[in-house]
């Protein structure tokens, strides 16, 4: 064995590089003043959407401990000790696991645990609800009507896997209608696949808007799940996978993905290896993203089905065309955006929660 002595200049230069890296790291902005685990400084991005680094589950929480805290037994636990990605989104410090923590779990299960929206109310749309412009109210028979929203879905292929809104006698909540008389609680008098006749109030004829909606009252769960880790309490929710909720124009090429409120595109895609060359598998859904030089792969994130179960990350967003579906990201690469029935528990479907602290930075 021989030892090669390099010129003194080499060692001097290496020390200078190390010092420069350390200085750079120390010069990035501190954005987390909460005392949460991991770096408090931005590694890349800004306070609107930025990356702070990774946190081992041993310093934060394991997938199985989180499931216990949320009272979730449905689905199958996996990747319990995966590291957490620490990031900042619209001024809030957030954590999300590198890989999904459960698979074969439904959106409805997570909703029923209060862990979809972190909104403090029932969220955009509870399970079995309907929303959007295909709904209309007809005052002549005090009914709410649709041509495509399958009020009496039976989860069959013939019904495009729609579930049923309710049955006669159920209390239905109407929200988001322009005319105040159309918002409130009503009783279903009769229901067909295209018409629900209501009692308990007098409706006014109105065409539905993007957020005009209805849902069975007993299906609404307050979205306020929290988990306490150390001294801090985090809200638990799912990612925003599209730019609007419900999606705006899912039938378009970008499926409603492009926009400033798409958290998945703003956080996960810049961490991905395709961000450098913008060579996305689904460029229409990805748009133009930042690249943060982290180069995570679909295998790292399990956002491709051949790398494991749960590659399809459940998100908050309701799909506007068929409102019993919810937006999912992944399965065919991180940029893929698709939608799946809120009641579906396929092995591809995965739970990748976001744990969010209240506002921690000034934008």
């Amino acid at each position: 064995m021989s030892i090669t002595l390099l010129p003194q200049k080499f060692y001097t230069n290496m020390n200078r590089i190390a010092d420069a890296l350390e200085t750079t790291a120390n010069n990035t902005a501190v954005v987390d003043f909460s005392g949460s685990p991991g770096s408090a400084r931005l590694y890349a991005g800004d306070k609107n959407a930025g990356f702070l680094g990774f946190v081992p589950s041993s310093d934060f929480i394991s997938g199985t401990d989180l499931a216990t805290a949320l009272s979730i037994t449905d689905g199958t636990a996996q990747n319990s000790t995966t590291p957490w990605i620490k990031y900042i989104w619209k001024g809030k410090i957030c954590f999300t696991p590198l890989k999904t923590l459960r698979y074969s779990i439904t959106w409805n299960t997570i909703y029923n645990a209060g862990a979809v929206f972190a909104s403090g109310d029932e969220g955009t749309l509870p399970p079995m609800g309907r929303i959007g412009t295909d709904l209309s109210i007809d005052a002549t028979d005090n009914s709410i009507n649709t041509s495509t929203q399958n009020f009496l879905g039976d989860k069959s292929v013939g019904m495009d896997y729609a579930d049923a809104v309710g049955t006669a006698g159920d209390t239905l909540v109407l929200k988001g209608w322009s005319n105040s008389a159309n918002n409130g609680s009503f009783t279903i008098d009769s229901i067909t696949n295209t018409k629900i006749v209501l009692t308990g109030g007098t409706l006014v004829t109105e065409a539905g808007g993007k957020t005009s909606r209805l849902y069975k009252s007993t299906n609404a769960v307050t979205q306020n799940a929290t988990v306490t880790i150390g001294d801090l309490t985090y809200n638990v929710r799912l990612f925003r996978g599209a730019s609007n909720n419900p999606t705006d124009s899912y039938a378009d090429s970008d499926k409603g993905s492009i926009g400033v409120d798409n958290e998945w595109n703003a956080i996960i895609l810049p961490l991905h290896e395709h961000a450098k060359l913008q060579n996305w598998i689904y460029p229409d859904c990805a748009g133009t993203t930042e690249g943060w030089g982290v180069y995570l792969t679909d295998k790292d994130l399990v956002t491709q089905k051949s790398y494991g179960s749960g590659s399809y990350t459940l998100c908050q967003d309701v799909q506007d065309v068929t409102s019993w579906k919810r937006v999912n990201r992944g399965r065919n690469g991180a940029s893929c955006l698709a939608a799946y029935y809120s009641w579906g528990a396929a092995s591809d479907v995965g739970f990748r929660p976001v744990l969010e602290l209240p506002q921690t930075a000034t934008l």
Binding site: T64, A67, T68, S71, T73, T76, A77, Q78, S80, T81, K305, S306, Y307, G308, S309, S347, D348
Partner: protein, 119 residues
């Protein structure tokens, strides 16, 4: 039934039978382990663990598990193969290897028959 732990395919060894809000469920015990279920039931009044049952596999299923446990295939594909022998995406090479082995065996039999003059 299979599950993955630390990127390693494993055969589930037990199932849990439990009630949640009065309704009975049965589920394989995966990487969380049996103790997790007991701890969960202790924390949440709505859930009670009735018990655990051992999973029983046929010799064929165990053999198929040995064949694929080190292959890099999706969990669902691996599960379908081990439990039901279904050859899915990513297992094509395995099918070819098996076919090849069958053909080699047939060829050996044929060679033997020819060399021995049909005796």
């Amino acid at each position: 039934m299979l599950y993955k732990q630390n990127n390693e395919l494993k055969l589930a060894t037990s199932k849990v039978v439990y009630t949640k809000n009065g309704e009975q469920f049965e589920q394989i015990v995966g990487e969380e382990g049996q103790q997790w279920w007991l701890d969960f039931a202790e924390k949440w009044e709505h859930t009670s663990v009735i018990g655990f049952t051992d999973m029983v596999y046929t010799d064929e299923q165990l053999a198929r598990f040995e064949e694929i446990k080190d292959l890099d295939v999706a969990d669902g594909i691996a599960n379908n193969y081990v439990m039901d022998g279904v050859i899915g995406e990513g297992l094509g090479m395995l099918a070819l290897q098996k076919k090849n082995a069958e053909l080699e065996s047939l060829l050996a039999d044929l060679t033997e028959a020819v060399l021995l003059g049909g005796m």
